[in-house]
Subunit: 344 residues, 4 copies
């Protein structure tokens, strides 16, 4: 059985395990104040062309989203987000648990537009009863989205401009950022992102690390006391070096990007196989997640050897499933899946 | 320079790294529902002689404390705790962040007594204006305490009895549990703890793991929906297997206990060296943390080669410092420290 | 200028002011433990035919909604609600501020159906990843709704049945309850409501009192420690007697119901005047709020002497406005408004 | 039986009831945006000699404290306070419910000193592990304190200076402010307070109003979006005019101050009667609360006709009780109490 249902089925890229073993008995101070973290921060700042950015390492995505959002908002503020956004649907209300409403906007293929954001921000400011409503205090988007889709540079720039016009910070969830940046269709670079977002994170968990997310804060207003927020949210790893070592490795010799490009290329092979059979897609994703619409028979046939993730039922005979590739996906596994698709 | 200032200066015990490497490319489902976690749970239930206990794995101590406490309390309830308790002083108000007051009691060598707990619980119930005050809804103690001291079986039993009399669950923070259980002066066993506490955790971070804490819930009332709480607090590791593999290793061949005994024995050597010089202690700790009271000259002399943790200043010429040993502390490092103490 | 834009433009019914003056210098204990509150509770239990119900008095609607919901839910739970529900749109995220997501369902004329509720509750329970999502822990409806519409006895019974089937309490926001119960089209009585809801409140602020809402808790599970919740949410009025005296007065000699009937009758006159002119309505409300769709000219003409509440713009030339009546609305004011409508 | 156990046993000063009756049928807009509120704000700004201050009206003390504190703090911050402070002991953890720790300092007769505050603020800033602890983000004192004692102008100035030195706002709880300002021993004036505090409130509930507290914000940083905070905490009264009318009346013709002076004078009579009998006091209060230490026999004798508030037991034969006077206390009632004291 081959697992294609998510991008965190394995451990870490071997170079990471090697580095953890090599450094295992070196004694360091805790809580991310060691030299590995310092070096990893430098590498990330360099890759972002953001020498003044603050870089912090957290363990997982929900923790990261919650910490960033709760640290930025005042109590009466909420975070604008696509209704399909991860914080709105799959984090057990972690944002609300810190006291803030998620202000969900209708999404198109997982994305929201600058026009929608502008309407939400302007609409609130113009309302005579604004204080009876939650004030939009941050805008959250995912890149790529939960459906694998991408914001173009033009779209991202437009959203960023609206946010700056209204003085509301833009936060980009990059749990799968590498897969987005390395897509054949991507025109956003890491420096673009660092320039256009006020805070974002570079996902490690789904992209070669055992775990870990690197938060990059470019807006000065969001930098203050962020380590308090990390500690308060239970995200300050005692052996913070584990995060430093992993990101140091990922940002050495282009590893992070190479691994992402590998996954995107394999996802494209799967995409092309489905497309060649005339099988439609729920959404047109150019990244490591593919969402074909299968008949019950097709799904049953493929599930025999290739585990996919049930996404949603469309009608009695059709459902959408998700196939994920990752840094760990083997070319041979994809070849076998492609054969199986061809044989449908 | 040798580090004695805390017990998380290194990575993990080599057997853990080996197991992580061996299992690295095995594909599993995420979020702790894999077979490694299942096996680790069984091993822990067995070690606790608690076949009906729920076992959950979290990443760090603050996260674990907050998740357990917030999951157990109703909004108007608080948690009773020694004023020196970790949740009261060193977690950036994480418990309060979830809405609950820490009801701190004066501590003696880091400990509170059954009498104090009874007075707090009974006092609240008897107060005619009770509803104007926070209701005690849980009792939290640390074993060993933040000062390395231990509750005897008699003391623990007495506290447990008071809690059960008043219907308030007892939560034991076991961030350094092994060091407590393996102390030469300990008379509490893991099955005792599982019998007397309603929920407790077995610390991994400070005792041989890269990271990880195993929560053991024995009280049925606290079991329901605990996985929601983990997810909401950002503690559900995507690659939950990493926790399962680590605890599986620690609870195989007595490793967890052997490592703790090693650290306790080395701490005793340090203790005896200070005592032989007539150097007093801030607190009489039988576990892996030692708190001698040093003159400024002594401290300066020792700090040259042996990093300790400044604890508190007692007067112009004296302060208390902390020396920690751990599973990773080398016999030879302790021998050199002992020599340096002898030479004071 | 006549005010029709809301139902809290005046003070209180004169009998309430008289009773406040009469009792002014009587000395009582505070916090709702006086004899006026005790008597008012008895009158309300009697009117509800719910002798075992707990009755508590709070000051305002947002406070009441938040206190009831936060007291009932565990941290990982949210409250199911129509997307137009007051808690979802007009309480500055007070529910989220206490840590809980509002799980909004699409509404039809302000209402949700038993089928929608069942789908939400069942859907969550059936989801294999349920713990990644907020668990529905309460269902909230408004009677009448924010658009003045009513749940029939059949509809309310169906929702109640679904809630009981899934073990989720039903909370009915009765900020304008009297206007709902006394509508010519109502078939739900106060005892029906007490029987079908687990907790609800009887609004005073908009129905003759200076302020005040009476929470009626019929489900035993929700009764425990509710006074702690009131105090914690800042809702325990020091001079609680003020609430007791007001509800005592409202529930003596049928005053509460007579005042509501008066407002409903006047609203119907306004409704009929618009209907006679062929002016359409945004929603078909049988209670004290009417939502005609006016052209810009019509609106301008009426606004000269009759203040209405702008509701929403429908197109360049049409908008929906709200006319409210209340216990305080004068027959003569309505007559003049009707004349003005006739003259459009 | 005469009630002396608190200062909220009656309704409101008759002039307030009269004004409520006179204005009852005037139609106004809601939520504190009416002309009565506007006028009351002007009167308060004038009395404070603070023309740029923002003034908001809330219903009760716990609500006011929570709203002010939660609005001012970031999530990782707490509020410094005397351990006997109202927010620390008698508000059911309302501050913690909004996510913030109360950082309690040992109190002397209900007061804390500038030195203590400076040590707390400096100590935190100097700590190398500061981010593991709650950051002091506000200082809260009560004037008069919960024990009736007063801060002198010198003491208040010193605390204010420390707060400004460290950039931490000073919040003064004035639930009984009038009784403090009018004490024979007071040297702080309302303009002093407005100059030295960043935010404070003028209590109405215990000083002649039915209910109501007037928050005065002088620091610009605390003004922004405060109405959102009021609404979110359930403190925005629909008929806000009720608060405006009450404070307008209290701040007309010196009523607020005259009523407070009346209560203070009567309290002094009670004080002098106890002192003349050689009965000691738990604390030396120059305001409307008196705390004599009575033998069991004395207490029993007085309790026959004069209700006092049990404060705390000192030994088997002695306890401290509280006698309160208020704007409503009758000279004749005090005369009878004095006679009874003389007869002990």
């Amino acid at each position: 059985m081959f697992y294609f249902q998510c991008d965190y089925n394995e451990g870490a890229h071997p170079r990471i395990l090697e580095r953890l073993a090599e450094t295992n008995m070196v004694q360091t101070t805790g809580y991310g104040e060691d030299e590995y973290c310092a070096h990893a921060r430098d590498l990330i700042r360099e890759a972002c062309q953001a020498p003044a950015a603050d870089v912090h390492f957290l363990v997982g995505g929900t923790q990261t989203n919650t910490t960033v959002i709760a640290s930025a908002l005042r109590p009466h503020q909420g975070v604008v987000c696509a209704e399909s956004g991860h914080i709105n649907v799959h984090e057990t209300g972690a944002v609300e648990h810190t006291g803030h409403k998620v202000l969900a906007l209708p999404a198109n293929e997982g994305k929201i537009t600058a026009e929608q954001v502008a309407a939400a921000l302007k609409g609130h400011r113009d309302d005579v009863n604004a204080e009876h409503m939650v004030q939009p205090g941050m805008v959250y988007i995912s890149l790529p989205t939960e459906l694998g889709t991408l914001y173009s540079l033009a779209e991202l720039t437009a959203i960023s401009n609206v946010c700056r016009q209204w003085g509301v910070p833009l936060f980009v969830d990059g749990a799968r950022l590498g897969y987005g940046l390395m897509s054949a269709r991507a025109d956003v670079t890491l420096p673009d992102l660092a320039r256009l977002a006020d805070v974002f994170y570079i996902g490690g968990t789904k992209q070669g690390a055992l775990f870990g997310e690197a938060v990059v804060i470019t807006a000065d207003a969001l930098k203050r006391d962020f380590r308090y927020a990390i500690k308060q949210h239970g995200g300050m790893l005692a052996k913070g070096r584990l995060l430093g070592i992993q990101f140091e490795t990922l940002f050495t010799d282009n590893l992070y990007f190479d691994l992402a490009a590998h996954a995107d290329r394999l996802a494209q092979r799967i995409h092309d196989a489905f497309a060649a059979k005339g099988i439609p897609f729920y959404v047109d994703s150019p990244t490591n997640q593919q969402f074909p619409i299968l008949t019950n028979d097709m799904r049953q046939a493929l599930d025999r050897n290739f585990l996919s993730d049930f996404w949603l039922r469309l009608d009695d005979n059709h459902c959408c499933v998700r196939y994920c590739t990752s840094w760990a996906t083997k070319e041979s596994a994809v070849s076998q899946l492609v054969e199986a698709i061809n044989a449908l």
